[in-house]
């Protein structure tokens, strides 16, 4: 089995995710980019799991999917509240924690 293809694919996906998190202003898109990052990790886990003939990789991937769902739930709730307060979901404008 070829492991490299999966790892390369996951690395590309991860980089796209990171790029999205760093450059996008729209909070929803930032969240989506985070999902990309998480899923690239999932691909790694499943790939290694299959490579090593070990179920643990898939178990962890499932676990991460569940946690990611919860994380999106919280994230979207935050976004919604930001929108209600400021009528905008531009993350660069939300900088009240400035030192």
């Amino acid at each position: 089995m070829w492991l490299n293809q999966f790892l390369f694919f996951a690395a590309v996906l991860f980089s796209i995710g990171v790029y999205g998190v760093l450059t996008r202003k729209n909070a929803v898109l930032v969240l989506m980019s985070i999902e990309l990052i998480l899923n690239s990790v999932n691909i790694n886990l499943v790939a290694f799991g299959a490579y090593n003939q070990d179920i643990a990789g898939q178990v962890f991937a499932l676990f991460i999917i569940a946690v990611a769902a919860a994380e999106v739930g919280v994230g979207l709730a935050i976004v919604l509240l930001i929108y209600r307060n400021r009528r905008s979901i531009d993350v660069s404008e939300a900088d009240l924690l400035k030192g």
Binding site: L22, T23, S92, A94, D95, G99
Partner: protein
């Protein structure tokens, strides 16, 4: 001298002993079905689930008892000892160290069952039993399973959390009592609480209670007993507060629950102490074995049994933790009959019987033969009996009577009359259930009032069946021969060994006097109840009527049994029948085999004591009878003399007030103990604080101020402040630089984080 050596033993087996877990499982299933599906399936016929389950449990219990009794009866004393095969691998007979102990623990108290067990108290006993033949005793049948194992086996310091069943004479007897009374109470309740707003809930909890009590009775380990103990407490709480909309009822439920919590802590601590003392085990037989053989020291046993005694005091209503029991009468009457008379309140007595070696050795006061248990029981039976005189509420009289009789049982166990105590438990369950159900029947007729003085009187014309059964049960309670209570009470009195020629385990004359006084008081207050309820003129405002068959038939069954069950344990010396049926209860149910039970002696019955006690009871009953008879002749609606001795004599008046105020124990608990923390104690603490502590602190303060000035001037200002200021300036400067990083822009943070991660990853790759 006592029987010098432990009785020989034999093993018994039966399908019922190995599958005893079915008995509590049936009502437990009934609880779930009733609660979850009952209303939808059966509507207002929901009681059939409980009736069927408890009925089946009753049949199983009776089958278990019959197979136990037939095997005990059928045992051939000449036969060579043989061991019985059990079809279930987890079952075994008697104490078997190897089965539930590890090797390491066995070394601590390796026993040899054939060796005579010498016991500290065996030497103390003075009664003679030289001629008594030693019966072979059946070994208990234990089926133990491991629920889970924690930290290796017992020898390695780990603990096994077990569950299992222990079938022996005591649990077999109790199984029958619990299922039988529970079944009759179920039948009674179908009429008594018919149309109740929480009918389903009521029957669900009756089932849960029955299951919990059976679980407790069959428990093979102290941990399991603790669980059962708490479960019956919860059911008691739920059923006392069944009509919780009335604040009095929910208060009573809370009081019962909280008072029991006090004792439960004792039980928990006792169980923990015994767990470690017996070598990391919860197994009841192992603990008993360790206590009998002396593997646990007297001091440890004393502490453990005192903790357990707190539990007994709260659950079995012993002075001074009995105060919840009369209030618990706020619950529905069938509940009072089942829980607060026949079964749950005897859980404490059962605990003593179950862990008898622990209590017997632990509570014996060194230097004398008086057992703490006997003293506690004696005080309780006198106090409870006295309080029963001043109650207006028929159920409260019965509640105090229950307290008094529980005291009797504790007293019997305390003086070493195990069988007498358990026999009294057995007979008391039957006649007291009959009395409570009778009180329920009366109140059913009198528009749900329990006030004897205001709403009753002359009821014997209206409800003859209730009247007859109530009188029979009262006679049994008062100890009138040949009713059940006479035999069991007499055995306890004999067991004290105080009467000449009885030769019990000791010579407890004071306890005997307490017992006789209580017997007299019991007869007197029951006569008062019967007069106020059934004789004289009817004083209520509704039209009383006899209750329906579902109420009267259980009463008649119980009253019939109250006549006959006493003959289960008549003395051998009784003419005509003694030889054939004497002491059967003792033969069937008394434990003794397998070095898990102390060697106790049996007192010799005394005809003179029996006659004396009976005359005492009859005399005091006649006295009360005459009092009311004369009163009635004066005024046919009066319930007490208002202008005579009690009213005018200051001393008697004071005694009466003391009883009405229940020895001021409730005031002690809520007013003094709880109040002390709110008021006086707080003030005392404040005074102490102001005058003592503050003075000390003031002087210390003045000294400190002087010292402080010195330090301030020379050390602080010069050296430390310099350093502090310098560090402050440095922190402020670096903060100014770093705050630029803290931009509040989330993408900048993310970039920093990813950058740092990448850097870290690079470091790892290079380094590894």
């Amino acid at each position: 001298m006592l029987a010098a050596e432990a009785a020989p033993t034999f093993e018994v087996s039966s399908w019922f002993f190995e599958n005893a877990w079915l008995v509590p499982a049936l009502p437990a299933a009934s609880f779930l079905i009733t609660l979850l599906f009952g209303k939808r399936l059966l509507g207002d016929k929901v009681h059939f689930i409980g009736l069927a389950a408890v009925g089946a449990a009753l049949v199983l219990s009776l089958a278990t008892a019959f197979s136990w009794i037939s095997q005990v009866e059928g045992h051939d004393p000449e036969a060579a000892a043989h061991s019985v095969e059990y079809s279930n691998d987890n079952c075994y007979a008697g104490y078997q160290g190897a089965k539930d102990d590890s090797d390491g623990e066995d070394a601590d108290h390796d026993d040899d069952a054939s060796a005579p067990v010498s016991l500290a108290f065996a030497a103390e006993g003075e009664g003679g039993e030289e001629g008594e033949e030693v019966h072979a005793k059946p070994l208990p049948v234990v089926c133990a399973y491991t629920w889970f194992q924690s930290g290796g086996s017992a020898g390695e310091g780990g603990a096994t959390i077990p569950w299992g069943t222990l079938v022996d004479g005591q649990s077999v007897m109790m199984l029958v009592v619990v299922t039988f009374i529970s079944f009759l109470v179920h039948v009674f309740s179908t009429d008594y609480v018919a149309g109740d707003r929480r009918y389903t809930h009521y029957f669900a909890f009756l089932s849960l209670f029955t299951a919990s009590m059976l679980f407790y009775v069959l428990a093979s380990s102290t941990l399991q007993m603790l669980v059962g103990w708490e479960l019956v407490g919860v059911c008691s709480f739920a059923l006392i507060g069944h009509w919780w909309e009335d604040k009095n009822n929910s208060d009573a439920a809370l009081k019962a629950f909280l008072t029991n919590r006090v004792g439960d802590i004792g039980l928990l601590i006792g169980v923990i102490i015994l767990f470690f003392a017996a070598g990391n085990t919860f197994d009841t037989l192992t603990i008993n074995h360790a206590a009998v053989t002396g593997a646990i020291g007297h001091g440890t046993l004393t502490v453990a049994s005192l903790c357990l005694l707190a539990a007994v005091m709260s659950k079995s209503g012993q002075f001074i933790l009995h105060t919840w029991l009369p209030d618990a009468m706020a619950g529905p009457t069938p509940v009072s009959a089942l829980i607060h008379a026949a079964t749950m309140v005897v859980a404490g007595i059962y605990l003593i019987g179950r862990l008898y070696p622990v209590f017997w050795d632990g509570l014996s006061i060194p230097g004398s033969s008086l057992n703490v248990l006997a003293v506690m029981g004696g005080i309780t039976c006198l106090g409870g009996g006295a309080l029963a005189f001043v109650q207006r509420d028929i159920k409260k009289v019965l509640a105090y009577s229950t307290i008094s009789q529980l005291g009797y049982m504790a007293m019997a166990l305390g003086v070493g009359a195990w069988t007498a105590g358990m026999f009294h438990l057995f007979t008391h369950a039957i006649f007291k259930a009959c009395l409570f159900l009778g009180a329920g029947s009366v109140s059913h007729a009198c528009h749900h009032s329990f006030d004897m003085k205001a709403d009753m009187g002359g009821l014997r014309k209206y409800m003859p069946k209730t009247f007859v059964t109530f009188v029979i049960a009262s006679g049994a309670l008062a100890g009138i021969p040949p009713l059940a209570g006479f035999w069991s009470k007499d055995e306890i009195l004999v067991g004290t060994g105080g009467w000449p020629g009885t030769e019990g385990n000791g010579n407890y004359t004071i306890i005997l006097v307490m017992g006789l006084l209580t017997a007299a008081m019991t007869a007197a207050y029951m006569t008062r109840v019967i007069w106020l309820t059934f004789f004289g003129t009817y004083r209520g405002h509704v039209h009383p009527h006899e209750s329906g068959p579902r109420i009267t038939i259980p009463l008649q069954i119980l009253a019939g049994l109250a006549v006959v069950v006493g003959f289960l344990n008549v003395p051998k010396q009784l003419p005509l029948i003694g030889d054939a049926i004497g002491l059967k209860f003792e033969e069937w149910f008394e434990p003794g085999g397998g070095s898990t039970f102390p060697v106790i002696g049996h007192a010799k019955p005394s005809f003179s004591l029996a006659i004396f006690a009976t005359l005492l009871a009859l005399g005091s009953a006649t006295l009360v009878w005459t009092y009311y008879k004369r009163l009635y002749a004066q005024d046919n609606k009066a319930t007490e003399y208002t202008d005579s001795f009690v009213a005018n004599n200051g001393f008697v008046r004071a005694g009466h007030t003391l009883l009405v105020e229940k020895f001021y124990l409730d005031h002690l608990y809520t007013g003094v103990i709880a109040g002390a923390f709110k008021g006086p104690l707080a003030r005392a603490t404040y005074w102490f604080n102001q005058h003592v502590l503050d003075g000390v602190i003031d002087n210390v303060g003045k000294g400190s101020v002087g010292l402080g000035r010195f330090i301030y001037r020379f050390i602080d200002q010069g050296t430390i402040d310099g350093a502090v200021n310098a560090s402050g300036v440095a922190a402020s400067g670096s903060g100014q630089v770093l705050r630029r990083v803290e931009s509040g822009k989330i993408r900048q943070y993310a970039a920093l984080m990813f950058g740092a991660s990448a850097l870290l990853a690079a470091v790892f790759i290079v380094a590894i």
